[in-house]
Amino acid sequence: MENFLTIAILLPLASAFLAFLLPAKKPGAIRALAIFATGVSLLLAICIFSQFDRQNAGYQFVKSVEWLPSLGVNLKFGVDGISMTLLLLVSIVSFCGALVSHEIHEREKEYYILFLALTTGISGTFCSMDMFFFYFFYELAVIPMYLLIGMYGSLPAGKHGRTKEYATMKLTLYLTAGAVLALIGLLTMYYAGGRTFDMVELKKNLALNGATQQWVFACLLFGFGFLASLFPFHTWSPLGYAAAPTAASMMHAGVLKKLGAYGIIRLALPLLPEGARHWVDLLAILCIFNVLYAGLSALTQKDWKFVIGYSSVSHMGYVMLGIATLNVVGVTGAVLLMFAHGVMAALTFSLIGFFYHQTHNRNVPDLSGLARKIPFIGVCMVMAAMASSGLPGFANFASEVMVFIGAWHEGSFVFRVATICAVWGIVVTATYLLWAVRTSFFGPFDEKWNMLHDATTLKQKFPYVFLIAVLMTVGFWPRLLTDIIKPSVEKHVVAAIDNRGRPVAAMGQTPRLASAATGETRP
């Protein structure tokens, strides 16, 4: 049982090595291997989830191997409620990503090797309890992503000379720049926290004064903000998704992007509570831009992938707003939204991939009445659009409501304005998504799309049905996840902030107090 977690994380990477040995002439075998590895990982993740002790807020299934004792580096995996949720997300999305990758027809061997390495990279980051490996796995994810987009992507010739290579380069530069910025913060914490990378140890040892916390937090916030496409560091994101092949967009919008938000929740908030207090107002303002500015930009887009790309930037605004609340409801909502949005983004990109593979055109006005020819994909797309615009019954609604409640509860003027903007954001979301769905799937059928084939067999339908089923299960019964997220958020995140910053806010009071002055320093 204890090894399940390690196997779930490392199996895809091990399979990638195995795939090296297989002949490139047998893509079928390699593809089967990839599906098998991600599928087993998913089963293991579900197994861990079912065995997860819902009363225990701490790390579970901890497995530690000494790596570099002199530097205090250990390979240490473990999951609490937060990383458990995200591990499930990676496993679900990577499995579905592998399933829909049949559209790749050249250099399959390299493709699947990269895809598998990417999977391990992301799940490793989510489950590392050691900062060194957190960073290591993150880099393990970024490099395959670069190659996947660069080699297998496609970007319709743009008006502004935007090519696939430009998009890839830009995405990678941004992600690396963000990672470097975060690294500065992480190293500062490493030295200040008694030269250990262990997150639990670090939390015990680390004592930075208020001023230091502020700038270290800024490094982490903006460093991770790059990854989470925080305004104004988001421009890599729509372009990058547009250029990426289907499975890479799914993994990136669905999962990789969540790493930024996860880094803030896991490292920045609990370790630097006073820094957090200092920056949250600015963060809330940036979130307004994320939600509305990116939402409005999405309104003007014509390319399906750009619409969804901007949409995902907009939705990350909700996640970041939830984080900025620093209270249990908001942060729990943010984590649940990371899950919900991840599944939803994967669903949308996989659906776009399905018809783009056949039409070679994803320009919304060029498509019309596709629902006659591909009704199944049409139904799924309507559901994805509804999920995305926060319809009850899908997981997104529950999480967005929690973010709204949490943000409103903060009570300060900035947060009130941010909440109002965020609630308006769901109107904007519905506007561009329903426009896109209505234009390309409804209306009179255009004969030039007569050659389209719908997903008819169970094998073809499975990934889409599965993703929708996940969204609806959590949507109908959000406690499935919130009951494990909430204790961990309370223990790891909110407790740290409340202890150092202020007394626990009682209901109805205006809970925000100036707290930067009460910085305590330990020798």
């Binding site: 502004h160 830009k170 530069l173 941004y174 720049a177 104004p232 560091f233 421009t235 500015y293 409005l296 930009s297 309104l299 003007t300 887009q301 209270n327 249990v328 409801v329 729990t332 009445g369 629902a371 006659r372 309507v382 509804m386 615009s389 926060g390 319809l391 009850p392 019954g393 609604f397 529950a398 409501v401 929690m402 709204f404 409640i405 409103w408 509860h409 009570g411 909440t419 109002i420 609630v423 308006w424 769901i426 109107v427 519905a430 506007t431 329903l434 426009w435 209505r438 799937f441 409804f442 209306g443 009179p444 059928f445 019964w477 959000p478 406690r479 919130t482 309370e490 209901m507 109805g508």
Partner: protein, 611 residues
């Protein structure tokens, strides 16, 4: 299992079963859907009789905890069982059952037959959820779900441009209302710390008056969207693109009334606030009159009814604003009966004429479709408020209320009643009387099958008797405020109003054979104005195009040209600047290397020796 849960979840199960399993078997799918709602109807009747014995409150099932975060947030899915909700359950399941059965005939042969019934079941589930809600988040959840089922059903014939557009418009307009509603719910929660209807009344008193008015107004926004009140009324007429049974069930009898129901449900919140009451009453009054004036110039058999629905919803909202919860619910109930009847009747005419909806291509149909004609006529009389039909009692309750509270709104109400009789008279006379205008259509016209006419008769009976003996008002509030004695003159006047309306309409449209609109020339520009619905659609389109469009374009341009250039350009620029700077150090000149080397050595020696 608790019967209330069966009432609520049977339609959901039906929708799921049809979607996943029986989609191919059309008739089976339809029967599953009908069975679900009829089961609900029967169980509701049981509930109703249990209520008579005073046992109903114990019938409410234990709520399920949907979401819980510590002590701060607890959201339940529960059920409120009281007179208000049981009455509404009866309306939804009763009228719903009739319309489900009617749809068996009306939708026959449509390729999307199963999909239609799946959506209808989804709608029933959502609507029942609203009715049973015991807290604000739950009502919001189902509020959104009826929105989406309405979207799916309006856009049912999605290949039609207008249908797809209308569905989108309905959903988005509702979303604007829901935006206000969500903010109201959040504000209320900060003030009281609970979402639960049962706990709220005790905590209302502590809220400052200004805040309470704001909360009530924001929550009212939700009702403005869903019940299509001015200024968000524009979606409802377009919603007529949906199949006629949908117009009858969703856009006349039940969903659009949900706004009124919600206001009655949270009356404890609205009644203490003078300001909010005023706002609500006037929005209702304005909608009632405005929609009635538009209705006189429409030519589509269903659109006339749609504007009539708007107008009647305005009455109900006005009643709520005048603190008349009981009259509002009374009119909601009777309206559900006769408006559903009218829509189904219109559907029967459309069916008979093979999807012709223009009233100027009909005429003389009363001989061809007798059942439809008689039931439609009775529905019209009920709507206009002719005694002793149900509409008379409920409409008069509202008008008398207005007479007591606000004379100006009373005048508006009477004018609306006059117009109602006029435009309904116009519709009946043009469609059923005179000589046939389109002979081809007339010759092929036929009465609808029994599966469609029986629901008509059922609803017709209800439309006639629902007002008798003040049963419904007594059911809603057992201790109904005793009305003062109304002057007999007033009552006589109110009876005269519809009669005058009909007479005017008859004098214009019952002439031998007007084949074109006779009033058009007489009214001139005014006619153009109302025919074009006061240009609201055009106005909103302009606002969306210029305001939202401009902001969106600016955002996009900023993103593309400023951020992307500065971002990527900044990054690239810094890198190349650093490269250029470093290049100066690497001159390739041996003398300068030697010089720098010497300089370095000197500095090191200086530090080591001298210090």
């Amino acid at each position: 299992m608790n019967p209330v849960w069966i009432i609520l979840f049977a339609p959901l199960i039906s929708a799921a079963v049809i979607t996943l399993l029986t989609r191919k078997a059309q008739m089976l799918s339809a029967l599953i859907s009908c069975a679900a709602i009829i089961t609900g109807f029967v169980l509701t009747l049981q509930l109703y009789s249990a209520m008579g014995h005073g046992e109903a409150h114990s019938l409410a099932p234990a709520p399920l905890t949907w979401l819980v975060i510590g002590d701060l947030v607890k959201i339940e899915i529960g059920a409120t069982i009281d007179h208000l909700s049981v009455l509404m359950l009866l309306v939804v399941t009763g009228v719903g059952s009739a319309i489900h059965i009617y749809s068996l005939g009306y939708m026959k042969g449509d390729p999307g037959f199963s999909r239609f019934f799946a959506c209808l079941s989804l709608f029933t589930f959502s609507m029942l959820g609203i009715v049973l809600s015991n807290n604000f988040i739950q009502i919001f959840i189902f509020w959104e779900l009826v929105g989406v089922s309405s979207y799916l059903l309006i856009g049912f014939w999605f290949e039609k441009h207008s249908a797809a557009e209308a569905g989108k418009k309905a959903f988005l307009t509702n979303r604007i209302g829901d935006f206000g509603m969500m903010l109201g719910i959040l504000l209320l929660w900060t003030q009281t710390g609970t979402f639960c209807f049962a706990e709220l009344p005790a905590k209302i008193a502590a809220i400052p008056a200004g805040t309470l008015s704001l909360i009530a107004a924001l929550i009212f926004c939700g009702a403005v969207g869903k019940s299509a009140q001015f200024p968000l009324h524009v979606w409802l007429p377009d919603a007529m693109e949906g199949p006629t049974p949908v117009s009858a069930l969703i856009h006349a009898a039940t969903m659009v009334a949900a706004g009124v129901y919600m206001l009655c449900r949270v009356a404890f919140l609205i009644l203490p606030s003078e300001t909010a009451l005023h706002l609500i009453a006037w929005i209702g009054g304005v909608t009632a009159l405005m929609a009635a004036t538009i209705a006189i110039a429409q030519n589509d058999i269903k659109r006339i009814l749609a504007y009539s629905t708007l107008s009647q919803l305005g009455y109900m909202v006005m009643a709520v604003g005048l603190t008349g919860i009981t009259p509002a619910m009374f009119h909601l109930t009777t309206h559900a009966f006769f408006k559903a009847l009218l829509f189904l009747g219109a559907g029967s005419v459309i069916h008979a004429l093979h999807h012709e909806q223009d009233i100027w291509k009909m005429g003389g149909l009363w001989k061809k479709t007798p059942v439809t004609f008689w039931t439609f006529l009775i529905g019209t009389l009920a709507l206009a408020g002719v005694p002793p039909l149900s509409g008379f009692y409920s409409k008069d309750a509202i008008l008398l209320l207005a007479f007591e509270h606000n004379k100006l709104l009373f005048v508006i109400g009477v004018l609306t009643a006059l117009l109602t009789a006029y435009y309904m008279g116009r519709e009946v006379f043009v469609v059923f009387f005179g000589k046939p205008r389109d002979h081809h259509a007339y010759d092929h016209a036929h009465e609808s099958p029994a599966v469609m006419t029986l629901p008509l008769v059922f609803l017709c009976v209800l439309s006639v008797i629902a007002g008798w003996g003040d049963k419904i008002p007594h059911f809603i509030s057992e201790h109904m405020a005793e009305h003062g004695e109304h002057p007999a003159l007033l009552t006589a006047g109110l009876i005269a109003v519809p009669v005058i309306g009909f007479l005017v309409a008859a004098s214009i449209y019952l002439r031998p054979n007007p084949s074109d609109e006779p009033v058009k020339k007489a009214l001139g520009k005014l006619w153009t104005l109302v025919e074009n619905k006061y240009y609201f659609d055009e106005l909103y389109a302009l606002i969306i195009k210029y305001v939202q469009g401009t902001i969106a374009t600016l955002c996009e341009l900023f993103d593309r040209f400023i951020l992307q250039k500065v971002g990527i350009g900044g990054l690239a620029g810094t890198t190349s600047l650093a490269g250029k700077t470093l290049r100066y150090l690497q001159t390739g000149n041996i003398q300068s290397y030697a010089f720098l080397f010497g300089l370095g050595v000197t500095v090191i020696i200086y530090y080591v020796v001298v210090r």
